[in-house]
Amino acid sequence: MTELLIKGTFDTLYIVSMSTLFALLGGLPIGVLLTVWKKDGISPFVYGEKLLSGIVNTVRSIPFIILIIALFPFTRLIVGRSYGIQASIVALVVGAIPFVARLVESALAEVDEGLIKAAITMGATPWQIVSKVYVVESVPALIRLVSLTMITLVGYAAMAGVVGGGGLGDIAIRYGLHRYQTDIMLITIVIMVIMVQLIQSGFNFIANRLDRRRA
């Protein structure tokens, strides 16, 4: 049983880290586009922004458990089957990209608008404004966003367990729910609580170290 729980823990960590990684790769550029394409953004493209924003809202409004099932054909196409660790990563990434995109958008909105204007008057290209101003200035916010995404995905990954997604959620449902082994259920909860605490405090520590805005 201990072995099963250890494996479950590592599976969850693997699922969460991989899907966070891919969700960031997808969500970061979308969040940037949502920012720069705005009417008063640095590279306005209102129709593009509206379309992208609509897609993001649509995916975000689908309950995750429904999304996993709706994605079965797509998941099968990508990883060959619709259950297991790989399959839950696919569903988690699709579900988390819009979430990350909105978080990135709000992180970038915190950057001093006057600084953006200043960079424009200094002759910075839109790409330079994104890479040297927006991203650099929001590093602490982006780090906190990684922890927020990971924590959300710990919860989502457990939901993926319902459809045999692997990890702690899967164990909690198979042993805790279907076989009435409440102790197993409790242990998985404790492990997840610890996991969330560690992620939160670890990333907060890094974000604070990198935040130069305090004297």
Partner: protein, 248 residues
Amino acid sequence: MIRIEKLTKTYKNDQSRLVALNNVSATIEQGEFLGIIGSSGAGKSTLIRHLSLIEKPDDGTIWLEDVDLFQLKGRDLLRMRRQLGIVFQGYHLLEQKNVFDNIAFPLQLVHTDKAKVKDRVEELISLVGLSGKAHAFPAQLSGGQKQRVAIARALASSPSLLLCDEPTSALDVVTTKSILDLLVEIHRKTNVTIVIITHEISVVKAVCQRVIVMNEGSFVEDGSVKQIFSAPQHEMTKLLLSYQEGLL
């Protein structure tokens, strides 16, 4: 030489029409130290947005030597923007970068050689009196020090025009004096054209050679500081002067 030629800008929406710049013209010679003064709503901010090339006029234009600034597009526009140094009221520094990197920013935009950047930035740090602060972050600096960083950054690419938008309005009297002294020193050393836009008459009196008074989108007076402030013609100039006396 900068020539502002019949510059006109009107902001419209469904209910109202605001003439922010009403057919204004002026010539600024290379090496001049000019103050543009007016109360809020006089059109100063609109003028700055045009001088800093982030807004286009409805009519008229600005010439820099023989270049029509509003005909510039793409790379030429970026290149021209890099030749203008601008200092803002709110500093607008990169909070996540130290003094050195903030001043180096305009140079890095054009991929200047690292050794050259280092020399230039060190020279500027000492010019603005921030020696020893190269590795400090903006959050660790006072308002006056932040404005010094902003001035150094504006000068980094050796602009022909230094445009200062209310550079001292967020600072106390003593710090204002030190920043103005610094601008005078920079003007003397580099002969860069300096244009200060402000609502504070004391600033213009302290440092400028020439002043333009703005009111309701027009230039209502233009001449030497001495002449205009000793014999003000326009009501707005008289009003600005009377407030100044009232405060003292």
